[in-house]
């Protein structure tokens, strides 16, 4: 599903984001990406989402070379990936329903299908009854669940999350991670970046550890 071949990312300032990274994630896997902040976790996710281009090497997602994707094809590529962010990136002036519906509206689905799928996604994260509320009226954990609902509403084959529990206490963090686990069980390839090692010890699962832009440990 995801394959990095000798990927190096050097930023304009000269610092290395990634150095000679080789990793692979198979279809249907759940993989945690760990390491200290600044180790290159975010850079790796950005390369997958075509938010950055690699300086050297190949980033393959579903067999396509993302680093060489023409700008016109980037939106279609992003529509195939569900992304979850540490600060959830919800639009504060839109109700929960509209926030979750946005990927479907971008994809051009009909109104009925949008309603059906948004309700299903909100049901999955347990927030169906809150669909008319504004994001500001929800707790941080609930907002993150809305972010996850938005990421999975278009039924992507790949889900990537950048520090999704970064702002949550251990209890809520575990809840969110279990939610990712359930989504993975229905076949969504999931890649989660986190530096919360204590949480990972409770969850298990395959880990890839980065340090200073290099892979220092990759489970099989």
């Amino acid at each position: 599903m995801i394959r990095f071949e000798n990927v190096t990312k050097r930023y304009a300032g000269g610092q290395d984001g990634l150095r000679e990274v080789n990793i692979g994630v198979e279809q249907g896997e759940l993989v945690f990406l760990t390491g200290h902040s600044g180790a290159g976790k975010s850079t790796l996710l950005k390369l997958i989402g075509a938010l950055e281009r690699p300086t050297r090497g190949q980033v393959l997602v579903g067999g396509r070379n993302i680093g060489r994707l023409p700008p016109r094809q980037i939106p279609a590529h992003r529509r195939q990936i569900g992304m979850v962010f540490q600060d959830h990136k919800l639009l504060p002036d839109r109700p929960i329903f509209d926030n979750v519906a946005l990927p479907l509206i971008i994809a051009g689905l009909g109104q009925r299908e949008v309603q059906r799928r948004v309700r299903a996604a909100l049901d999955q994260v347990g927030l169906l009854k809150r669909e008319r509320q504004q994001p500001g009226t929800l707790s941080t954990g609930e907002q993150q669940r809305v972010g996850i609902a938005r990421a999975v509403v278009s039924r992507p084959r790949l889900l990537i999350a950048d520090e999704p529990t970064g702002n949550l206490d251990p209890e809520l963090s575990l809840e969110i991670m279990q939610l990712f686990g359930r989504l993975n069980e229905v076949g969504v390839t999931t890649l989660i970046a986190t530096h919360d090692l204590a949480l990972l010890d409770r969850l298990g699962g395959r880990r890839i550890t980065l340090s200073k832009g290099q892979v220092v440990r990759a489970d099989n």
Partner: protein
């Protein structure tokens, strides 16, 4: 496939209406922008209505190209009639009317102002007069030559040729027309800038929304659409405001203009807003609206790239 096309139109309609909704949510700002656009479009259109009226007035006075040939007093009728026939055969002349001294005196006697004066004279002091109407295609220079030639002749006392001011009026109208074109171009460019700047601010205010949409895989066309529709609405609103200003303005002017025309004894009816001018205002507004939005979108949307 049909469903996909249907969805496409539904999305455009949604985008179009939601852009209108955005404008309505900030009524003060939107009305101000639309008002400025309206004034900028109404100004050249109003001037062009004035020029059209000027042309109509000048057209009514085309008969002022007629010129009068006064014969020497005491010239015989035969000579006058011979001269009339000679002039009628001239290439530049359409018709010649002979007003004899007796007819002229009778006219004068009929007029209220000078009627009493006529009785003072023992003899008729008035000369015969030929009123010459040039052909429509006669050029002013040819008429001037004809008039000069006539004035040289012994039996003719005076030639009164009054075409110069009509030519001057036409020249002035030409100049004003050109000026209007220039002013219209400058103001339309102004409208383009106003709308472009409004859309630029709009883009800045909705930066978060644009970033998130791009993160979720929105194409450039998707992100661009609401702003282009906003430009369309600004252009349409501005044009309608301009038309309203013009209609009210012309309504206010038509009374005094008719009165002035009556004082000159003319049957001149002031002309209102021509359909072509109204269409021009509408078209200009829409082109400037969409164009300004497009410029702003092309410049500023590309600069917004999502960050995580």
């Amino acid at each position: 496939m049909n469903l996909a096309i249907g969805n496409y139109f539904v999305r455009h309609a949604q985008s179009c209406l939601s852009a209108l909704g955005q404008l309505c949510r900030q009524p003060a700002g939107s009305l101000l922008t639309i008002g400025v656009i309206g004034v900028a479009l109404a100004l050249p259109a109003g001037l062009s209505v004035l020029v059209r009226n000027g042309e109509a007035v000048a057209g009514q006075w085309e008969s002022a190209r007629d010129f009068s040939v006064y014969l020497q007093p005491g010239i015989a009728m035969d000579t006058a009639e011979a001269l009339q026939q000679e002039l009628e055969s001239s290439a530049d002349v359409a018709s010649v009317v002979l007003i004899t001294a007796d007819e002229a005196l009778a006219q004068l006697a009929d007029s209220s102002e000078y009627g009493e004066v006529v009785g003072v004279f023992d003899d008729n002091p008035l000369p015969h007069r030929l009123v010459v109407r040039p052909r429509d295609d006669a050029v002013p220079a040819g008429l001037a030559t004809l008039a000069d030639g006539l004035e040289q002749r012994d039996e003719i006392d005076l030639v009164r040729l009054d075409t110069a001011w009509v030519a001057r009026l036409n020249a002035i109208l030409d100049l004003v027309r050109r000026t209007i074109l220039l002013v219209a171009s400058i103001l339309t460019a102004g409208v383009l800038v106003i709308i472009g700047n409004t859309i630029r601010l709009d883009i800045q205010n909705r930066r978060a929304e644009i970033e998130v949409s791009k993160l979720l895989g929105a194409s450039d066309a998707f992100v661009r659409r609401p702003f282009l529709y906003a430009g369309f609405w600004y252009g349409l609103g501005g044009s309608l405001a301009a038309l309203l200003l013009l209609i009210v303005g012309l309504l206010l002017l038509s009374g005094p203009a008719t009165r002035l025309s009556e004082l000159y004894g003319g049957s001149f009816q002031p002309l209102g807003l021509a359909g072509s001018t109204a269409l021009g205002v509408l078209g200009g507004g829409l082109v400037a609206g969409l164009g300004g939005a497009w410029l702003a979108v092309a410049r500023h949307l590309a600069a917004i790239e999502p960050k995580i």
